[in-house]
Structures are given as structure tokens and as C-alpha cells.
């Protein structure tokens, strides 16, 4: 238990300290030490979770609930103040509504609060904790070098790095709280901390666009967050305060837990940017890249799918679960389609994140052990690969001055190491034998056995989506290895913190694929056994051997690259015989010297963002309304 409290409180204290550190070197040291401690502690937490059943902790301190409530009031107060000052009246209203609701919930829960376990630790929390601690820690260290360069390139933006890193650690603390909370009231408190941090961090550049997008993100997350107090109130009114704990709800089964789980799932859908709530994540890309990597791909959005995954046993075989799965599936398909037409690298990554979160939500909505297994694997692999990609794009952006994929042509000659890391990151997102593909494979296996005929619907959606994801990832990969004119670059200009973190993340992406059988056998499967009564064997051993063989091949083959590079006589490209130099320059008609300019297909007419967003937001809205209807009918309100 000490570890859990340490992980929640230590970043909080560090955050408070970091506000006051002005010296850059001291701050750097503090951040590195803090990240290292968080990472190591989270690994210990994972190690301690290897038990047959989850472990719960209660705090004998009675007034801790009151402190949490005061925390809620403080956060809401700050948000009211910020929204009112910016004339965001809708958000102000929603914050006040939230405060009222949580006040009612607290009041109702006041009587016998101490009966419920407050914190829990099991393998799933352990995995999430490691993701937050290790990957979050790595991103915080990366941010040191990145933010220094950021302010060098944008001297007009005010340098509030002390506040920046403080909020980063506050966020880490909040995330640890989310994954360790068993008491729904505590979950709500830490959830709101993450919403607050997201708002502050998106707002960091203080440009008009950033402010606007930060309020949009705040609005969507607040609307989602509304449903948690509603769920709490509903639970207390129908079943008493004994059930405001996650473990109680899950063990009580769908009869009692389905309605609160559905309501909390809506909150999760909003936080993980599923349609119809997805536009906040795309807008959040204006924030500095470490923020995008940490909040909007690896960690905060994972909190959304985390709660849905927690309640997956409740959703199994239920209509509500199927609707949630369909929302996830449609999000996967629509976001993949939209990503095809984007040329801004961060937007591609954002839509790809939304798509993968949709896949995770679909697995959780189905709720069978096999699906949940796939979901946890997806969470792990996605967190690592996506953060690697975001950080690489951040580095590339600082070196070449642009986020556009079209400007990354021939990156392999300018920045060979970073290009290799991007290639590994992208392969990690959709190619066999890397992790995401493995998880997608597992999810296909899970869907075919799911509730017929909806499982097949999901399979059809995944089938279409997987071809589309191959399209936009491969054309990005092709772009960066496409060499027109070999340019020399200087990779030594990249800050050391950035380079080392990228290297560590690349290594992790590869190693985690080798370790997945161990992770599955010793961590995930025991956890599934503790929740479900029976668990069929997952991916069989022969398949694992084949995947490892493929992985070996894919890693060993590049050693042949140098041999091939020297094996051919160099001749010009075929331009119908027109002579061209190696610089991709040729003499065109009328004797005009032209450069070869090649751009990728973006297929705007078919996959345009505007049109598809409208359609998918509409579809998502429809499904949410259906979901709410079912919840209301079941809730008997």
C-alpha cells in the first residue's frame, strides 16, 4: 500500500516543488530523478500485483473522503473561474452542474463511507501503472530537451516551463490515482485532475488556437465527466453505498452494475475521444509534442478505455456492451478513413490514436475473456509505439521546421537514425509480427466467437479498417525512405535527452514483442482468471513461435541492407529518356529546368475530413442516444 500512496503523492509533491524551481539545470535534475523514481516504483507495483486475486486497501482515516471532496471543490472552483473569465458559459454551467452532482453524491455517501475499499491493486492496475510510470517518465525526460528547443524557436511565447513540468507531474499523480482507485468518488476526483491538467497543458502555447482548443477539450471532457456522479448517485439510490466500489459492482454482476457501468462507460468514451466526442483530441494537437505523446496517446486517453475495460465483465453478452463495441468499431473505421486524407503528421497520429482506442473499446464492449486479453495487449503495445511516433515527429519537426509529411521526403538521408526509429514505430503500429498486429489478430479471434451476429459486424468493420490503416501508414513510410536528392543532415543537433529517450522507446517497442508471451502468461492470464470463472487458452504456442520467427527475420534482414546498397550500378531514373541528374532535376519542355515533385495520395474526395467527420459524429451520436435510452429503460427511471 505504501507504494500506491507513494506513487500518488510523490508526483504531487514534486509538482508543487517544480513550480518554484527557476533554474533549468536543477529542474532537469529534479525531473529526471522524479521520472526515474516513478518508473521504478511502478515496476515494483507491478511485481507486487502477481497474486491470484486483487488486493484492496482501505484507509482508516475517516475524513479522507472530506479531503477528496474539498479537492473536487477546489478544482471546480478554479475551472469556473477560468471558464467564466474566458466567457465559456456552457463550460461554466457544466462545471457547476458537476459540482452540484458530486455534492449530492458525497452527501448521500456520507453515512457509511468507510465500508468500501478505496484503493486496489491487481495485474491490470500494475500494467497501467508501469505504462504511466515508465513511459510517462520517459516522456517527461524527453520534454526537457524538447521544451528548451521549443522556446528557442518560439521566442514570442512566454516561458512557463516551471509550470509546465509541474502540471506534467500533477497529471502523473492524477493518472496513478485513476488506476489505483476502487472507490468511485476517488476515481472521479482523480479523473477531474487529469481533465484539468489536459486543459492547462493544451493551453500552454497561449495562442488563440491553443486557447480555443483547450476549452473545447475541457468542454468535452466535462460533459463526459458528468456521467460519473450520475452513476454514483444512481448506485447509491438503488443499491446503497456498499456498491460505489468497482470491485463490488463487478462482482455483483450485470443485474446491479450494468446501468452505472454504462454511464461510466460514456465518461470513458468521451475521455478516449470516441465518436461523437473525437474532435477535442484532434484539436489538442496544437499542444507541444510531449503533451500529445503523454496525454493524448499513451496515458490520459488510456484512462478512458481503462474504466471501460474494468467493467468489461459486466458488459459481456449485454446489449449495452454491444452498443459500446459498435461505437468503438465505427470509430476505428471512421478515424482510419479520415487519417488517409491528412498530411499533418500529428493529425495522422491523432486519428490513428482515436482509431486504435476504438478498437480497444470494441474489445472491451464485447467483454469476453479473449476480447479483454486482446484489449490489454492493445493498450500496452499502442502506448509504447504511439509515444515513440509522437516523440520522433516532435524531433523531426524541430529539425526540419515542419509537421507536414510532404516535407519529410527523403528523411532517411538527412536523419537516418530517427528515420529508422520512425520506421520501427510505424511498423509497430500495423505490421506483423509487431505487437499491434498481434493484438488485432487476437481481437479478430475474439470477435468471431462473440455475440452473434454482432461479433461478425465488428469483424467486417475491422476487415475494412485494417486495409485502410495499411494504406496511410505505408505511404508515410514510403515518403521518408524516398530519396530524390541525397541531402546531408546533422543529427548531432538533436538534444541528447531527446535522442536517448527515442532510442530507449525504440528498444522497448522491439523488446516488448519478444516479451509478450511472458507478459501474457504471467500477468494477463492470471488476472483474467481472477475475474472470469473460465478462461480458454489464448494464442497457441505454435503461433507464438511463428511470430517470434518473423520478428527475428524482420530484425536480421536489415543487416543485408549495406550489401544491397553497394550491389547495383547507379543509373538515372526513367523519365521517358530525359536526362536527369541525381538531384532529381531535369530539363522539361521549352528547356525549363524542373525538379521532380512527388506527393502522396490523400484521396480527399473519398476520405475528406469534413464529410467523414460529419457522418461519423452523426453515427456516434445516434449510438450514444440509443445507449442512453437503453440505460434509462434498464435503470427504470
Amino acid at each position: 500500500m505504501e507504494l500506491l500512496v507513494f506513487l500518488i503523492l510523490f508526483p504531487l509533491l514534486l509538482s508543487g516543488l517544480l513550480v518554484f524551481i527557476r533554474n533549468e539545470k536543477t529542474r532537469g535534475l529534479a525531473v529526471i530523478i522524479g521520472a526515474a523514481l516513478a518508473g521504478i516504483a511502478s515496476l515494483f507495483v507491478l511485481a507486487s500485483s502477481f497474486t491470484d486475486k486483487a488486493t484492496y486497501y482501505t484507509f482508516p482515516v475517516g475524513y479522507l473522503g472530506l479531503i477528496i471532496f474539498i479537492g473536487d471543490i477546489l478544482i471546480s472552483g478554479y475551472l469556473v473561474f477560468a471558464c467564466f473569465k474566458a466567457r465559456q458559459y456552457l463550460s461554466t454551467g457544466i462545471v457547476i452542474l458537476q459540482l452540484v452532482l458530486i455534492g449530492i453524491a458525497e452527501f448521500l455517501a456520507l453515512s457509511d463511507h468507510s465500508q468500501v475499499h478505496d484503493l486496489l491493486i491487481d495485474q491490470f492496475s500494475g500494467i497501467m501503472a508501469v505504462i504511466i510510470g515508465v513511459i510517462g517518465g520517459l516522456i517527461c525526460v524527453y520534454a526537457l530537451g524538447y521544451m528548451r528547443e521549443y522556446h528557442e524557436r518560439h521566442p514570442e511565447r512566454s516561458d512557463n516551463r516551471a509550470k509546465f513540468f509541474a502540471v506534467l507531474f500533477l497529471f502523473l499523480s492524477g493518472m496513478f490515482g485513476v488506476v489505483f482507485s476502487n472507490n468511485l468518488l476517488w476515481l472521479y476526483f482523480f479523473w477531474e485532475i487529469t481533465t484539468l491538467c489536459s486543459y492547462l497543458l493544451i493551453r500552454y502555447p497561449e495562442t488563440d488556437e491553443a486557447v480555443k482548443n483547450s476549452f473545447k477539450a475541457l468542454l468535452y471532457n466535462l460533459v463526459g465527466g458528468l456521467f460519473i456522479p450520475i452513476a454514483i448517485i444512481y448506485t447509491i439510490l438503488t443499491n446503497g453505498t456498499g456498491y460505489i466500489a468497482i470491485n463490488e459492482l463487478i462482482s455483483a454482476g450485470p443485474a446491479i452494475a450494468l446501468v452505472p457501468a454504462g454511464l461510466i462507460a460514456i465518461a470513458g468514451l468521451a475521455k478516449s475521444a470516441q465518436f461523437p466526442f473525437s474532435s477535442w483530441l484532434v484539436g489538442a494537437m496544437v499542444a507541444p509534442t510531449p503533451v500529445s505523446a503523454l496525454l493524448h496517446s499513451s496515458t490520459m486517453v488510456k484512462a478512458g478505455v481503462y474504466v471501460i475495460a474494468r467493467f468489461a465483465p459486466v458488459f459481456e453478452g449485454q446489449m449495452i456492451g454491444i452498443i459500446i463495441a459498435l461505437i468503438g468499431g465505427i470509430t476505428f473505421l471512421a478515424a482510419s478513413c479520415i487519417a488517409v486524407s491528412q498530411s499533418n503528421a500529428k493529425k495522422v497520429l491523432a486519428y490513428s490514436t482515436i482509431a486504435n482506442l476504438g478498437l480497444i473499446v470494441a474489445c472491451c464492449g464485447v467483454g469476453t475473456p479473449a476480447a479483454l486479453w486482446a484489449a490489454v495487449l492493445l493498450i500496452i503495445f499502442h502506448a509504447i509505439a504511439k509515444s515513440l511516433l509522437f516523440l520522433s515527429v516532435g524531433t523531426v519537426e524541430h529539425q526540419i521546421g515542419s509537421r507536414n509529411i510532404e516535407d519529410m521526403t527523403g528523411l532517411v538521408t538527412r536523419m537516418p537514425l530517427v528515420t529508422m526509429m520512425i520506421l520501427i514505430g510505424i511498423s509497430g503500429m500495423f505490421l506483423a509480427p509487431f505487437g499491434m498486429l498481434l493484438s488485432k489478430w487476437a481481437s479478430l479471434h475474439a470477435f468471431v466467437e462473440a455475440v452473434p451476429p454482432y461479433g461478425v459486424l465488428l469483424v467486417i468493420i475491422i476487415a475494412y479498417g485494417s486495409g485502410i490503416t495499411a494504406f496511410f501508414w505505408t505511404k508515410w513510410m514510403g515518403k521518408i525512405i524516398s530519396v530524390g536528392e541525397p541531402k546531408t543532415g546533422n543529427e548531432s543537433l538533436i538534444p541528447k535527452t531527446e535522442k536517448s529517450i527515442l532510442f530507449i522507446l525504440t528498444l522497448l517497442t522491439v523488446l516488448i514483442c519478444f516479451c509478450f508471451p511472458v507478459i501474457s502468461l504471467y500477468i494477463i492470464e492470471p488476472w483474467l482468471l481472477s475475474i472470469y470463472s473460465s478462461v480458454t487458452t489464448m494464442l497457441s504456442l505454435s503461433n507464438i513461435e511463428i511470430m517470434l520467427m518473423m520478428l527475428f527475420l524482420v530484425l536480421v534482414m536489415p543487416l543485408l541492407l549495406t550489401r544491397f546498397r553497394r550491389s547495383a550500378i547507379h543509373v538515372p531514373r526513367y523519365l521517358c529518356g530525359l536526362p536527369e541528374t541525381s538531384n532529381a532535376v531535369f530539363t522539361g519542355s521549352c528547356g525549363i529546368t524542373r525538379e521532380i515533385a512527388l506527393s502522396n495520395y490523400y484521396l480527399e474526395k473519398t476520405f475528406g475530413e469534413e464529410r467523414l467527420s460529419r457522418i461519423s459524429v452523426g453515427a456516434g451520436l445516434l449510438l450514444i442516444i440509443i445507449l442512453l435510452n437503453i440505460i434509462i429503460i434498464r435503470g427504470g427511471l
Binding site: L457, V459, T474, L575
Partner: protein
Amino acid sequence: MNPFIAAGIFIILAPIIGILIAGTDRIITARMQGRVGPPILQPWYDIRKLFEKRQVAVWGAQNFFIFCYLIFMIFSGALFYAGGDILLVIFAFTLAHVFMILGCYVSFSPYAHVGAERELIQLMAVEPMIIITAIGLYQVNGSFYVGDMLNHPGLPVVLLPGALLGFIFILTFKLRKSPFDLASSHHAHQELVKGSTTEFSGYTLAMIELSHLYELIVMLGFVWLFFGDNLILCVIAIIVILFLEILIDNCTSRVRWQDALSSSWFVTLALGAGNIFVLSLM
């Protein structure tokens, strides 16, 4: 049969059978056009000749990717005939194709670039149907393993007519035949010179040809899966399907990528997805 032996037989026999099929294809095409046509072993002569040419390239690295393409194509085919998980075979295929497309991108040549983009569109058009075929076969056989499917006593095609028709539709993409030979074509001039294979020569081109042959044999293996244990019916079906493909190839002209993509997705939805949806309700 021992999976390693099956894989070994595939690796050795597939080019031979592929060459014979490709040669017959060219002869039948020629006869349909009123010509005589090359000898049946012509594809073998082509590949063998390509090994005798000096290697030229825009960048040597592009040959590396094609080598990986060949290796993974052989790997996926061997996995298929060794009886592995059909979804893994499909994903290994995608990996092989991605390597080839990356090889086309490396050279930064206009024709190869457009060819690579069109290859990607072809990949996007084909992938849903293949996955849906795999799922349909799972629903009939109860197992994802090709080994079980090849020995299935009944006739899966009776339950999967839509899936078979949809599969034949996308087979036109896979065999690079009109009207869907967008990216590269065995015919003479096309609007992209040689499309995605423009900047390759010598043994690299031979590797691409070999990969096409391996792919042909695995695609015919997929057709075999529809017929289970009934080999005679399977062979007749393969002959009919290949003849149909050659006929369609000679009667149609290439379509734009928009039409190729939308028609393929529509056929996948109507025939393939409809088929497995109905099966899941039964």
C-alpha cells in the same frame, strides 16, 4: 503431412506449377487474340534471362526491399501449406506487399511512385475481402488452421457462395489482370510505363516475378480451401476460374482507381460480408 515437408514441397514445386500456369495463361491469351503465343516454359526463360543481366538501379537499397518481399512471400506461402493460422498467413502477405511497395518508393521516380500509390490502393481494395473469406472459412470449419480446412470432408463452398464470388472478384486484383491491373501489368505499354516495377532490373525483377508465382499458388490454395477434401472438384474449379480470369482480362480495359476501389468494396460488402453475416445468424 508433416508441416515442414509440406512447406518444403511448396517452396520447390510452387515456381514450377506457377510457371506452367503462367505459360498456359499466355498461350490462351495469345490464341484468344488470334496469335500463336510463346512456348509454355516462356516464364521460366524470362526469369532465367533476368538473372543474366547486370544489376542496375537508381538506389541499391531498393533491391533490399524486393528481396524481403520474396522472402516473406515464400514464408507466408510455406506457412499456408504447412497448415498454419490463416489470419497470420494473410498478415504475413500484407507484410510482404508492404516491403514491395516500400521498394517502389525508394527510387523517387514518378512512374514507380504512382505505381506504388496504386499498389496501396489495390492492397486497400483487396484486404477486406480476404479477411472476410478467412472468417467465413472459420465459421464453416470451426478452426482457423489451414491444415483443418484443407482436410474438411464437406464442401464449404455450399455455405460460402458469396464469399467465393467475392474472392474471385478480388483475384483479378491479385493476379494483376484487367480491369484491375492498375499498378503494374504484364501487358505491353501502359500509362505508367511499367508502373511499380519501372525502376527494377536484373535479378530484382526476377525476384518480383518469382514472388508473383508464389502468390499465384497461394491464391489458388485459397480457392482450394473452398472445396475442402474434394480435390477433383477443386481442380475443375481452379481451371474454370483461371479461364474466366483470362477471358475477363482480354475483354476489359483498365478502370480508374476510384472505380476499382469502390467496386471492390461494394462487392466485398454485398457478397462477402453478407455471406458471413447470414452464416452467423444460422
